[in-house]
Amino acid sequence: MWFWFAAIESPEDSMRFEAIYKNYRDLMYYTARKILGDDKDAEDVVHDAFVAVIDCLDRLPTQVGPKTRAFVVAVTESKAIDLYRRRKKLTFVEYDDALAIPDFSCPIEQLAEGNAVSRAIAALPAEYRDILLLRFDMGLSVRRLAGLLGKKEDTVYKLIDRARTRLARELEKEGAAL
């Protein structure tokens, strides 16, 4: 299998991609499959996510670790959610319990102890959490995010804005000290 990656321009990039592929392909597939419920769609999304990995190799740490893990899962989740919406023919709406649109979030009770803000971020709907991680943790620009996720820049700005709004609302509910 290793020779497949020999064509990436530098040997270092090749090794890094190989490590990411080896370590995270099953996790990415698992994540996509959980959202989409279909093997073929899940593989398509994983493939798209690896395209994003190649594009952002320069931003990823040289060694695989938590940051890389978060990146690959966040990108996979974003792309899977997009595909999920397209399959269900949903337009982007605010997440609202009344509408019963799955937000693929992680219930806050499942989170370990931590400060209120961190828990609130981690418990956001998946799409909001992922965009904040990619923007603030990975430090990707809006333009780069747009290219990575296959969205327009305006859409990315709106998504970040909505993520902030939702976070602020959750923090106010929790009465978090600001």
């Binding site: 938590p66 931590g114 828990r119 971020i121 904040l132 603030f136 820049e153 923090l171 106010e172």
Partner: protein
């Protein structure tokens, strides 16, 4: 509501911990079942790893972006320069300019091919390390050589006849294409380029584009563009299919629309952002206009300019027809017709259905569709009188913008029609009609 800057600050301070909390909710590696990926997935990953994403963008831009840009820009520039913008441009807008845009750009096709070749060579060859990429480069380069060679031979061969390349370029489209009628070899080269070499190049470009796009999942846009193009190209380049005019027109527009949609979608995916698509949209507009404009003249009656015959004997056609004496040679004897009968013969000649002339008798070839110049040579002993007949004809199709010359020669009671290259017999129906008129005139 919380201040946005304060919120951003909070996010930045806590994002790392948030990431850790979230990652802890994900299953560990040992808990995740190992998935057996499909062969298709593995192939895509392999191809993906073979070319970096930005590299593919560059390749795609070269193959599909620069080529139409050059073609479109040259088309517009040629139309403006050679047709003395603005006066002639406006007066001939729906006639010669429409075809000028298309055919004048064909003159520069060798340059376009060379440019494409150089770009592909540089882009793929200089930086490629993968054997796959090098193989792609080799195939496309090789496929570019043949149409380039044929185009160069055709253009410069024509230039020899027209005393220089500049003179060739200056000629109107009708005259330019008329060159091929008198020079069968060049005509055949021209057709060979269109019917064989260009499809070969397009197939190679398609294959290269497919290799680039398959890994990214955008190959469907290539099919959207290539299949209608292939269908239209087959209809256009292979007259043996005898495609009805309306089918040709519809297939061309289907191709143009599909190509526009495909390039728009691909440019959106590869370039991202609306502003970056503006150059591509401009190119698309130029292409659609330049190709589409040729169809504005379909069905419109057009004045057919005089065609240079091989012996440059065209004179004042309509004056001769009306005033020159008419003699008919039957056998060895020349008989001058009485004025009334001469007028009857002139009237008959003027009303000959030239389309019927070309189609009855099974002579249905590319060369018959178009303006037909018929010369009836009727001579007397003292003064050869050539009656030259030229009928206004419906606008020919863009693929058959050719002039065709045929002589009807009456000799020993038989009538022959000669094309510029092939002798052919006139259909019996027409022969009978003409002979009856001549017998009546002779009586």
């Amino acid at each position: 509501m919380m201040d946005e800057n304060r919120l951003d600050q909070l996010i930045e301070e806590n994002i790392t911990e948030a990431r850790t909390l979230w990652l802890d909710t994900l299953p560990h590696k040992e808990e995740i079942p190992r998935h057996k990926f499909t062969t298709e997935f593995k192939l895509k990953i392999r191809q993906l790893a073979g070319m970096k994403y930005t590299f593919k963008q560059a390749v795609w831009l070269v193959l599909m972006g620069i080529y139409p840009c050059i073609h479109g820009a040259l088309t517009v520039a040629l139309a403006l320069f050679f047709f003395n913008f603005p006066t002639r441009l406006f007066t001939m807008l729906f006639e010669e300019v429409a075809y000028g845009l298309l055919y004048a750009s064909e003159v520069f096709m060798p340059l376009i091919y060379v440019f494409l070749l150089v770009n592909i060579w540089y882009t793929l060859g200089s930086t490629a390390r993968s054997n796959d990429i090098k193989a792609t480069h080799a195939v496309v380069s090789f496929a570019s050589i043949l149409p380039t060679l044929l185009s160069v031979l055709t253009i410069f061969g024509s230039a020899q006849l027209q005393e220089g390349l500049l003179l060739t370029l200056y000629k109107t489209t009708i005259e330019f294409t008329g060159i091929f009628l008198g020079r069968p070899i060049l005509g055949k080269l021209f057709l060979l380029e269109g019917a064989v070499a260009t499809p070969l190049l397009m197939a190679a470009v398609f294959w290269a584009g497919h290799r680039c796009l398959f890994a990214k999942g955008h190959a469907r846009y290539l099919y959207l563009m290539a299949i209608p193009a292939g269908v239209y190209s087959a209809f256009w380049h292979y007259p043996i299919l005898q495609t009805p005019e309306v089918v040709l027109l519809v297939s061309k527009w289907i191709w143009l629309v599909c190509a526009a949609v495909a390039v728009y979608k691909l440019s959106h995916h590869l370039l991202g952002g609306r502003m970056k698509q503006m150059p591509m949209l401009l190119v698309l507009a130029i292409l659609v206009l330049s190709f589409g404009m040729t169809d504005l003249t379909v069905g419109m009656p057009a004045k057919v300019p005089m065609i240079h015959s091989t012996d440059n004997s065209l004179g004042d056609v309509f004056e001769d027809l009306d005033t020159a004496p008419v003699s008919v040679k039957i056998g060895e004897k020349w008989v001058e017709l009485e004025p009334a009968k001469a007028d009857a013969l002139r009237t008959y000649l003027k009303n000959i259905d030239l389309e019927e002339l070309g189609q009855i008798g099974g002579v249905r070839s590319d060369e018959w569709i178009g303006p037909v110049l018929v010369r009836i040579r009727i001579e007397d002993d003292e003064k050869p009188c050539k009656l030259v007949f030229c009928q206004e004809y419906e606008q020919p199709t863009q693929r058959t913008q050719k002039a065709y010359k045929m002589e009807l020669v009456f000799d020993n009671g038989e009538c022959y029609g000669y094309s510029t290259s092939d002798p052919l017999k006139l259909p019996l129906k027409l022969l009978d009609a003409i002979e009856k008129e001549l017998e009546a005139a002779h009586r």
